[in-house]
Point group: C2
Chain length 489, copies 2
Amino acid sequence: MDKLKEYYQKMAKYSDALLLLYWDMQTYMPPAAGEYRAEVISEIGGFVFRMSISDELGELLKNAEPVSEEDEANVRVGQKEYDKYKKVPSDLFEEEMRVSTICEQLWQKARKERDFEIVQPYFERVVELNKEMAKYLGYEKDPYDALLDRFEPGMKAEELDRIFTPLKEFTIKVLEEIESVGKVDDPFEREIHVESQEKFNRWLLTYLKYDSTKCRLDVSTHPFTNPIGMNDVRITTRYVPDDPKNSIFSTIHEFGHAQYALSIPEEFYGLPIGSSASYGFDESQSRFWENVLGRSLPFWKGIYKKFVETFPDMAKYPVEELWKGVNIVRRSYIRTEADEVTYALHIILRYELEHALINDELSVKDIPDAWDELFEKLFGLKITNISLGCLQDPHWYGGSFGYFPTYLLGNLYAAQIFDAMKKDVDFDTLVENGEFEKVRGWLTDKIYSKGRMYEPKELLKRVTNNDFDSKYFINYISEKYTNMYPIQL
Amino acid sequence: MDKLKEYYQKMAKYSDALLLLYWDMQTYMPPAAGEYRAEVISEIGGFVFRMSISDELGELLKNAEPVSEEDEANVRVGQKEYDKYKKVPSDLFEEEMRVSTICEQLWQKARKERDFEIVQPYFERVVELNKEMAKYLGYEKDPYDALLDRFEPGMKAEELDRIFTPLKEFTIKVLEEIESVGKVDDPFEREIHVESQEKFNRWLLTYLKYDSTKCRLDVSTHPFTNPIGMNDVRITTRYVPDDPKNSIFSTIHEFGHAQYALSIPEEFYGLPIGSSASYGFDESQSRFWENVLGRSLPFWKGIYKKFVETFPDMAKYPVEELWKGVNIVRRSYIRTEADEVTYALHIILRYELEHALINDELSVKDIPDAWDELFEKLFGLKITNISLGCLQDPHWYGGSFGYFPTYLLGNLYAAQIFDAMKKDVDFDTLVENGEFEKVRGWLTDKIYSKGRMYEPKELLKRVTNNDFDSKYFINYISEKYTNMYPIQL
């Protein structure tokens, strides 16, 4: 068992180097260094992959004798990962990595030039390779399940269909109800100096009690969180002069991811259970901090004084106006800028298309039209610019199929977790007073301290004493928006 | 040959990851992450070391069939490195790495608490391990030569003695002559806001035509240069409010290192010849840009307008006063803050002591007294604080014996190179006009483009058409300071 752990801890050191190479690429790397950096990442990435499927690791897993519950989980989770990737031929894996890296670069060009054909040939290859991977990874009924399982262990397309279908109808209903109230003014539609935004975001992290000895905030085009090593998590945000909400909620979102990573027990570090339970669970925490907490009225009451002090132009709005302003629900083209209600539609759109793609019900060349058609059906808007359509996100072009649903699952988990938390914790009072320790303490105790010991659904059951159910999200949205607007849901 | 090159290029990717881990540690890493970072560095460092002495590399070197002059140099340099480190038992190498890492950490504590005994036991072990390494590395007469050769290939203690002895006398004479003129006022002895210093340093890099697509400037406690990858060199500086010269000359110094690294041909990257010729040669370039160019009157004439614009308090000094101010010669305790004249004495002191140490003529416990005694002899100053004495530099405690002389060799090479350059290039006019392209072009053509194809002395001969000789430095100093002061040398 000790030898197995040592093996994993050693492997972690190389993945940590990879994460730093990646973080640096997004933040400080001089621009001309990109091409070579990709080679370094690919070399070390290949090394880590080979370590993760080596015969040596297979032997260590076979002979490990776990004595604690944690170590049993390490062997179980480790064995599952090992078996999964061991089944994929190395050259298929490496080919997929290579092709999708090129494809993602071409996607940037395609998006810029609004020309799907630039990326189409490589993208077709990426889809083919992923279908092939699905065969090796294995599945019962639906090849999509094999890919989804990499991001959300135990989740299946069948279950997503069952959850997403009613959610789609509910979301459209909420949207229409809110629209019936009439246009809401947005106090945040104004130019705000990046310097004041920066100042406020730094203050915000202190207010949220972030640990600056283990965490740092930088700037990147697309905000992200990278746990680079033990006691070392990097988050980024972005400052848009005429969109001050952007940086505030990016910062809180990534702070949520960072909280999770920094609260996993140190002794799990580098081991199979030493990460978050799944992509969906990780997202549930960024969403919890960003939306459930960060877009709540108590939170805005708590930061109001500091907020109007930093942005004196905003002092003319009472706190309720600001709270409404950060919760405006509207039809929009871009997923990453969507509100917490319509976000679901953005994901369902992507899920339906990628599911069809992997099941040969849709071909790559038909994606732009299929997207525009489904988008119009869901949002009632026409797409006239493909960079606001199927070229807006990198995920598919980088070979991540089965990733998008985890964003929505994150929202659903967050609402279910919130429901359970409120039974133990006086959320509104604590949040209004800026006393986040008890909130974080509850989350650490129930979720963060468990690392990846349990599969998402089992963990959710342990945390909430209930099976996974989208009704908690539906209730959360209903309660919040009927409080905000004179509507019935 | 191709396989050999591939092997080296692969190895370089892991060393590049190491360099990034190191750079990040000195610049942006959250403080609590230090302990784990050391483990990551040690793991990947060990991996690179094992690659550098593997049997596979031995075979590749043996079977390589070089057809070009460059490839012959690759095999020659590669084979020399390989043979050298292959002779050292891995466990000795790793033990030395481990012990000196701890010792360097203890040194920080010892320096802070001004207590040599804190570091003494580990330091004794470091010295013992280095003596043992010297035996394995091999030497003719003097074990010190084996250690020196790691930093300055082909250099020997005998030659250092021959050069340094007259240089010591010359330096003391210059110092006394200059002192006889009387105290010189230092216009730079003033508080200057870090913000204006930063602004000026950024401008300075642009003025020197640094390539911001391949290079970046950050801040660290001890300024350094790290070539992190192809087209990616990081330099750092430090801002001291009451010492504006500190940042200016740190920046130019590190810029010099960066110029060298960025001008080595791209096709050499990762190969044995893909670095600077030696530590001394690398230092010759940082010193050339910092001292020969950066502390010259033409340079200060060129930047004067911008300088007084940024620091209006300084406008009352004519340019000659500023030039004198950046060239003040005085007795001082700290090597890194020494002027270009007395710097030689700081190095000679260290060289004499480390040479005695490796030759069993001095024991570790006697170092503090021996340092103070020799320092008083050379500088005429008493040391009352050990952190200004033998605890000021990390090199010895980190296991680098034979490193210090390369700093002084750098100064000597720089003067000899300057002498040769002036025959081809109208240095004063170009520098005064800020036209650095021809200066850099000459250096690239003669030095940077050769990478590590030649050993330092051979390269110096090719560059200057003369054998290495310290007379060029003596002439350079004599000319400069007799122009500055009414003295005879």
